[in-house]
């Protein structure tokens, strides 16, 4: 049984279309994986940017009143945030946590380390800050 020219043409077209579908599938899989990766990067970048603003606020508050932070080598959670960066009372799923990792004082020089953590335990941003308070200011509680 010999195939007619038309039948051969149809079969070739079908194979071509199938190849195109397979190639399309591979490209789509690569593209989608790329999109997912980019989305994760973008989310992380957004979270880091928000962390910088929140940690900066904590640093500014520390500079305004270093004694309020309380000298301690133990980590202390200052604030919790939800996934949309709204302040909440306790840790929530996909949320973040602002921590005062340590606060020390030596001859009036207060040093504090602030860190923003994600729920998975990844440090998003941390910064160390120092503020000198003269003895007179310390006694006056300023």
């Amino acid at each position: 049984m010999k195939e007619t020219r038309t039948q051969m043409g149809r079969r070739a077209f079908l194979i071509e279309l199938l190849f195109a579908m397979v190639a399309m599938g591979i490209c789509a899989a690569i593209c989608l994986a790329g999109f997912v990766h980019s989305d994760r990067l973008s989310q992380r970048s957004y979270a880091q940017s928000q962390s910088v603003v929140r940690v900066q606020t904590a640093v500014e508050q520390f500079k305004a009143d270093p004694m309020a932070a309380g000298v301690s080598a133990d980590a202390k959670t200052l604030r919790y945030y939800d996934s949309e960066w709204n302040e909440v009372d306790a840790q929530v799923e996909d949320g973040y946590r602002l921590e005062l990792t340590s606060c020390t004082e030596e001859q009036g020089l207060y040093s504090a380390l602030f860190c923003m953590w994600s729920e998975e335990g990844a440090a998003l941003y941390s910064v160390e800050t120092k503020k000198y308070l003269p003895a007179r200011a310390r006694e006056a509680g300023v």
Binding site: T4, T6, Q7, R10, F13, L14, L17, L18, A20, M21, M24, G25, C27, A28, C31, L32, F35, S38, D39, S42, Q43, S45, Y46, S49, Q50, V52, V53, R54, Q56, T57, E60, Q61, K63, A64, D65, W85
Partner: protein
């Protein structure tokens, strides 16, 4: 014989069309997914830019002018504003406020009546609020999309 060949051809044609439709559908789906991903990234970049620019700008301005009686919270054109004056140049002030959908700055004589929209545009913003707190100023910024970000700026001179 001729009839059977014609039937098979019709089935193949339909299958080819179906396959082509699937191809077109998936191609379009990938394209739309890409467009959506791009829109999301662009929106996040815009948000980051608006928040970081406003926070960095205000913090630097307040720290730069942190001298006795140099920082005060006031009103300009019916909106809250921060007034910054430099020692020795008390007749002039720099006002930072939000008007016409943007964070603006204007430097003018204290007695001049200015149009709020004539200020220099810094970054897109829907609103700006200030509140005096012990040790500094609490700032609330609404970005272009209307999302609020709050931050605190320490003012050592404590004159706000």
């Amino acid at each position: 014989m001729i009839k059977r060949e014609s039937n098979t051809g019709g089935g193949e044609f339909l299958f080819n069309i179906l396959l082509f439709c699937m191809f077109a559908f998936f191609a379009l789906a990938v394209l739309l997914a890409g467009a959506k991903a791009y829109r999301t990234f662009a929106a996040r970049i815009d948000d980051n830019f608006a928040v970081r620019t406003a926070a960095g700008y205000l913090t630097n301005k307040l720290h730069q002018n942190d001298a006795e009686n140099s920082v005060s919270i006031t009103e300009f054109g019916g909106v809250p504003a921060i007034a910054l004056t430099q020692p020795g140049l008390e007749d002039y002030h720099t006002l930072i406020y939000c008007s016409g959908g943007a964070l603006r700055e204007i430097f003018a004589h204290v007695e001049f009546e200015m149009d709020p929209d004539s200020g220099m545009e810094i970054v897109e913003s829907q609103g700006l609020e200030f509140e005096q707190r012990p040790g500094g100023v609490w700032v609330r910024v609404l970005d272009g999309a209307g999302d609020a970000t709050e931050f605190f700026v320490a003012v050592r001179s404590d004159a706000a």
